[in-house]
Symmetry: C2
Subunit: 355 residues, 2 copies
DNA sequence: TTGGGTGTCTGAATCGATCTAGTAATAGAC
DNA sequence: GTCTATTACTAGATCGATTCAGACACCCAA
């Protein structure tokens, strides 16, 4: 039997103490350079790859990994450009501290919570999950440093958000100012239950994705203030936040009589889907129907037509989350920073309604 | 001082043994349902989030995480569509086994190797790294299950690859068959040293990215066999595998006299860059210059013009890697599967040379 | 009555490191 | 020649679980 090589093996072999071997790896200043070289050389010979990370983790309480909890499976995160940008920002910030990203998905099932419970991480970053996601509760229970992006709002946990209401108001007001009254809304999931279709007031109010609640509410208030009857405004929820599903939702909206003269899409992926649906149905954008998106994701400026949208700093928000994590891990206490401002970028997908 | 709650705390509190509490979490069949409920309930009251993953990891040797080592920083991986697809496939496969992905980047520095050494993972998946990357050596030293995508080739480690030579030959032969003789090559990095520009034979031969070596070699042989003097074929290496850098490289190629009538880009990102450069320089594709890519990444079929390229199963390869990891973790031994076939997809970016 | 089987629960060893407090030896200051 | 600093190293407790070999009680069959 070939025994596993540990610090102790090495220590015995060299006639020094375990602590000294440990120090050779972790505190080079605690022993003579000569001995250190000897230890490292012998370690190499014996095929010792350095102190076992698991044991080190237990003893020192640090694993060098930050858990990242995202919505709807990893596949989704990798295919959503906004998620990728955010991960990019986060990663670049954490990398400089030698922290890795441990990706986990929250899909609403109990097993996700199990995975979270079993994950050895130093901190959690949570992005855009429903209020009642069990995996979030599991992460919270670990009492480790934590940061949330977008949602859910958790008491005592710093949240890196944008001014969702502002953005939704700006988009809506733009359409109102252009003269639109027959406005429709294309929403991201309100609950992670795979529902697709027209949304009623109850579902709207009890959406578990708080960002959607906020944005929808802002749209409602802006329209109501302008005298548009919210009850008559069709809101279609898309089961998945991607182009294909967005197109599906847009078909439903554009098929209605009277057809809307403008669609507010609450994400750019949905907006891109709406552009495609309109194109396929022969509906001219913005001639027959205006489309406004949300996020200013990469690629929307070169869509056909270039998309009017609410721009938010995606990558930068990932970085901010990373900075906060680092600060928390240093033991500093961090308050929720003010929500980052958004700005309406008017391109060519919006115009006055047809007369 | 509020003591940390551990299995022992809980055991004492309830007057049972530590083993029983552990079993309550890990082997429900080992104790009465009644006692188990009592334990779990009390755990909840005391704010015990379940057995500490670090300690569990040490004792049982499993952490539930697979380390993923990628090239050039996480940011790059997230912005390269082929890398995203591969991660997507890998993640979907591992998720079903409850495994998370721990992402680390290899950037050639010693500190990366340190990070790898300190990472508590059950297995490593390595994608597209140079032959001499220190982080790879560090991962190898841990003697854990391991899988490589594309490169480097490591003895005894299963590699999930494609038939690179075949693909390069097919692309080259297409151009030859169309009548091209003035062919130029746009290459991905040959070494991770940030070099950009014309490559000489020595650099070509000693490329540390073995996939590039293989593809270039296949192009060379195909051209030589057709009587084209390889020494006169300009090969421009791009420091980064992205559109912008590809455009930069293409500028250099298209500026030469005589200008090439065809460019073989060894990745689609570079090919897209070449398309852009050609467009900006007023060079008509494929009228004045044909462009062929490699990968069939998402989006290239809708490029202007749609790109002729060598298609490979990107997402699927990630899944295959995932399957192999799972098998290895189950203790099975896995041989390197045969390289997956590629296929030339002819679209509109290639045509006969101008006369 | 005995023996075996089953269902519950316990004791103690173990995983492989980190880290604090402390020893021993040497150097330098006065 | 004594006293303090500094350097180089060690002993042993500790992190928080998992796990295996029993112990104990109880029931049923022979």
């Amino acid at each position: 039997m070939s025994e596993r090589v540990t610090l102790l093996t090495l220590a015995r072999d060299l006639g020094v103490s375990r602590a000294t071997v440990s120090n050779a790896y972790n505190r080079p200043d605690q022993l003579s350079a000569d001995l250190r070289d000897r230890i490292l050389a012998r370690a190499d010979q014996l095929g010792f790859a350095g102190p076992d990370p698991r044991a080190r983790g237990l003893r020192s309480g640090r694993t060098g990994a930050v858990g990242v909890l995202i919505d709807q499976g990893l596949s989704y995160a990798f295919s959503d450009p906004t998620a990728v940008l955010y991960l990019d920002g986060l990663a670049s910030e954490l990398q400089s501290d030698g922290l890795g990203l441990l990706l986990h998905a929250g899909t609403g099932s109990k097993t996700d919570a199990e995975l979270v419970r079993a994950a050895a991480v130093d901190a959690w970053v949570i992005r855009s999950l429903p209020d009642d996601e069990p995996a979030v509760a599991a992460a919270l229970a670990q009492q480790r440093p934590m940061v949330v992006l977008d949602q859910p709002e958790l008491p005592g946990v710093p949240l890196v958000g944008i001014d969702d209401a502002d953005g939704a108001v700006a988009a809506t007001q733009l359409l109102l100012d252009l003269g639109h009254r027959d406005i429709a809304v294309l929403a991201m999931p309100l609950r992670p239950d795979g529902f697709q279709g027209l949304v009623d007031a109850v579902r709207e109010r009890y959406a578990t994705y708080s960002v959607m609640r906020t944005r929808l509410c802002a749209v409602e208030q802006t329209l109501s203030a302008a005298g548009v009857d919210w009850g008559a405004v069709p809101v279609v929820e898309c089961a998945v936040n991607d182009m294909d599903t967005g197109a599906l939702g847009a078909y439903e909206l554009l098929d209605r009589t009277p057809a809307p003269t403008a669609i507010i899409a609450l994400s750019d992926q949905l907006a891109l889907g709406a552009l495609r649906a309109a194109h396929e149905m022969g509906v001219c954008v913005p001639g027959a129907c205006s489309v406004v998106g949300f996020d200013d994701a990469p690629g929307v400026s070169t869509a056909l037509p270039p998309l009017t949208t609410v721009a938010q700093p995606l990558r930068e928000r990932g970085q901010v989350a990373g900075e906060i994590v680092r600060a928390l891990l240093r033991g500093e206490s961090v308050a929720t920073p003010p929500r980052l401002p958004v700005s309406l970028v008017v391109r060519d997908s919006t115009g006055p309604p047809p007369r």
